[in-house]
């Protein structure tokens, strides 16, 4: 196979582009896709201070690398979720990435700083682990960004992530979740602006970016996520993509272009009805926000071993 651009030896075939690329022109393609997402959805402006949510996985480290390459001022925030060795290893990948590039990485440890971990939160709140994890991360990234003076939180959600969430929400016709599924959430009182610059790149492309850029990342799957619903949706979409390349991109990007504007008004009305949590001040439709309820229950609960929750984990939470 030859690179579509320079006719040199290709290292990756991308059926959805009906093309193959050498490393140099694959990098160019990825940069252009990210720049286009940032421009099309007005994600970032010159002078923005960006807080990148990093996990040690391929997507968040590729995102951090791409944003720095594109000239943005971007610091990382890692949240230690207390998922045994998996969390220890994940932090190691983030720390090495930051150290090698002299980037700033902030670290929050759930167990040390807040008195709980994700396995315990899942047991204490009877949530599936991915739901407890998502709630925790959203709250802490929001508050860290506001406290740290960052104008934007950037997350590594890629095209596969967004297509899978869209697929799940569509199967349930969950209008509330569909209305919120945007690549940019503007800043509002109590919420920083949130952006997903990788929505035009697939997981295969972000993984290839890391391999070709010599970025070490954690390849092993989170033990809490094994068998979750999200993975099932991705497998179904990839089975279709294999037969019909480009399906995931058209499914998600056409939804954003054609359906999101229709759904937007309902979501605004719902958000404008939010009050403030009496404990932490975060926006919430209740007296006490879901995060503070989770913290209260989890810190009262005996610590739960990872293995106990990993065994019973079978389905994921919605985003």
């Amino acid at each position: 196979m030859k690179c579509r651009v320079c006719r040199g030896p290709a290292v990756i075939d991308l059926p959805r582009h009906n093309a193959n690329f050498c490393p140099e022109h694959f990098f160019q393609l990825c940069r252009r896709q990210v720049e286009r997402a940032i421009k099309d959805f007005t994600m970032l402006e010159p002078g923005d201070r960006v807080l990148v949510a990093v996990s040690g996985g391929k997507d968040s480290l590729a995102l951090w690398d791409l944003l720095v390459e594109l000239g943005y001022e971007a610091d990382g925030l890692y949240i230690g979720l207390g998922i045994g060795e998996y969390s220890d290893e994940s932090l190691g990948y983030c720390q090495r990435f930051a150290d090698e590039r002299s980037l700033s990485l902030k670290v929050i440890s759930l167990r040390s700083d807040l008195g709980y971990d994700i396995p315990t939160a899942a047991a204490a709140t009877r949530r599936v682990p991915c739901s407890a994890c998502g709630l925790t991360k959203r709250h802490l990234f929001d508050s860290a960004a506001l406290e740290g003076g960052y104008s934007v939180v950037a997350t590594g959600h890629n095209l596969d992530d967004e297509a899978a969430v869209l697929f799940g929400n569509t199967l349930r016709w969950d209008i509330e979740y569909l209305a919120r599924q945007l690549p940019v959430l503007p800043a509002r009182p109590g919420f920083p602006k949130k952006v997903k610059p990788l929505v035009r790149l697939t997981e295969r492309e972000t993984a290839a970016w890391c391999i070709l850029r010599n970025i070490d990342y954690i390849v092993e799957e989170c033990p809490m996520a094994a068998g979750n619903r999200h993975l099932g949706y991705k497998a179904a979409l990839n089975a279709i993509e294999d037969q019909s390349p480009g399906t995931k991109a058209s499914f998600y990007l056409n939804f954003i272009e054609r359906m999101s504007p229709i759904l937007a008004n309902g979501d605004l009305a719902e958000r404008e009805g939010l009050g403030s949590c009496t404990r932490c001040g975060s926006p919430t439709p209740s007296e006490v926000c879901a995060f503070c309820v989770l913290v209260e229950k989890s810190t009262r609960h005996e610590p739960v071993p990872v293995e106990f929750i990993a065994r019973r984990a079978g389905s994921g939470g919605r985003r």
Partner: protein, 64 residues
């Protein structure tokens, strides 16, 4: 050739020469969900793998 698979981590012996795409098909693995690294280098679907190669088939799907 020695082929490393992940999640869960395991090794299998496969016969070469074989194109990458054929190896994935023989192992019933979706190309959209995997990348193939031969002797430390990323390789495309038509690259031919030989018995002496050390191959990693890396899953790219994550569940978070």
């Amino acid at each position: 050739m020695r082929v490393l698979l992940r999640n869960p981590r395991r090794e299998v012996e496969m016969k070469g020469p074989t194109p990458v795409s054929a190896l994935l098909a023989r192992l019933d693995l979706n190309r959209e969900s995997h990348l193939v690294i031969a002797n430390g280098v990323l390789v495309p679907g038509d690259a031919v793998l030989n018995d002496a190669d050390v191959v990693e088939i890396r899953p790219v799907i994550s569940g978070g």
